[in-house]
Symmetry: none
Subunit: 124 residues, 4 copies
Amino acid sequence: MIKLSVSESSSIPLHLQLKQSIMLNILSGKLEAGGKMPSIRSLAKILKVNPNTVAKVYYNLEEDGVLDGKVGSGFTIRDNKRKLDSFKTLLIEEEIKSLLEMSVRLGIGKNELMELIGRIIENG
Amino acid sequence: MIKLSVSESSSIPLHLQLKQSIMLNILSGKLEAGGKMPSIRSLAKILKVNPNTVAKVYYNLEEDGVLDGKVGSGFTIRDNKRKLDSFKTLLIEEEIKSLLEMSVRLGIGKNELMELIGRIIENG
Amino acid sequence: MIKLSVSESSSIPLHLQLKQSIMLNILSGKLEAGGKMPSIRSLAKILKVNPNTVAKVYYNLEEDGVLDGKVGSGFTIRDNKRKLDSFKTLLIEEEIKSLLEMSVRLGIGKNELMELIGRIIENG
Amino acid sequence: MIKLSVSESSSIPLHLQLKQSIMLNILSGKLEAGGKMPSIRSLAKILKVNPNTVAKVYYNLEEDGVLDGKVGSGFTIRDNKRKLDSFKTLLIEEEIKSLLEMSVRLGIGKNELMELIGRIIENG
DNA sequence: GTGGTCTAGACCACG
DNA sequence: GTGGTCTAGACCACC
């Protein structure tokens, strides 16, 4: 099930939350490449946000080459599998690097870090 | 060597960069608990930012119970070893959880993730 | 009628006066929980103080969990009835304790104190 | 036993804490009218504060007509019983009025207030 | 329109 | 010297 969501109480701006949410759904395959996105108005209604906010995200994703907008027929998801896959790897690698950098700055050794990760995967 | 730094070109606000920088230096022990912080004006001069910006960070850290400010005698670093240690663990655990959540959303399995982490640790 | 006010001649800093004024208006119900606060700029204009000063107060109340600010849509008053009620009692109890402590230090007996209070309530 | 005290961690400035502490000790009779105050240097040493701070307080109290300073022989406590008594009443009355004002602003009735006071006197 | 960040500079109180 | 308050005004992102 597709699950786009935004939280009003988060400190992250609505449009960034929504953009990330859409990206993750596309990357994980929940939103199918080639398929249609919900219309701006309907999505805005569902998420209870201003249509301008949804529109901004759609146009933004169009500039990023993720969506494809046609007047009168709404937005569709572009089908470039390679690009998506490489982007997926990039995302997760950056997250890992960020984690490693923080552990270095906090003086946490690699073994200790791997232990922590393992423990959280099991219990977390 | 203590190295407080901010980057003007980052999209993250100066005061947040500085706050995090100070926190990490305290957590890693580079800034000693019980010691004195540089004065607002001197740090502002060093970092080439406005004194108000440094002041905002110091007030903020004071509210967080990290610093302790007195008029006429400057800011000192509070000596709450336990609190700092638990905070340190908390920080790194949240970073790990965020990584795990993203890998789940992207449909990356645990084994695949651990491999990636291992490879990045080795090769930098 | 809501009546936020500050006095330039008071020795108490403007932002503390304003904070207390807002708190009292919320606690007494003159500013309704769930309602919207005036915008930073408009309140600053009304009170003839700098917008930064009002902003500082709003941030401060946000940290205290009293207000809730969103870019683009202003500050609203959080609806924590329980919290507010307990805070109200706390406030008045501290004031009473402070009075009792002072009377003890001045060597004024409890009966004498109660008499004084009674007289001031009637005539004051 | 005379007990002048200041707390470094309080948000109230040292010199005001000390002034109030001295005033209360005089008003309650613990510091006798006509008697001698400890010397600036000795009191500063005892309280571990800067001698300038004690000096400022003494000169301040001299201006208020409470102390009497003579070069070479230190400060003595002025002996004007009437003035002290009226001041004592004034102090406590102001504290009471402040309490009443706050209870009005918080919408707490007089009966409710008297109950609260009674309860705190008994148990507090 | 809203709040959020940042700068520049004045003035005050504290130790 | 230190921090604390307040003003004035710029620029940005968000809704």
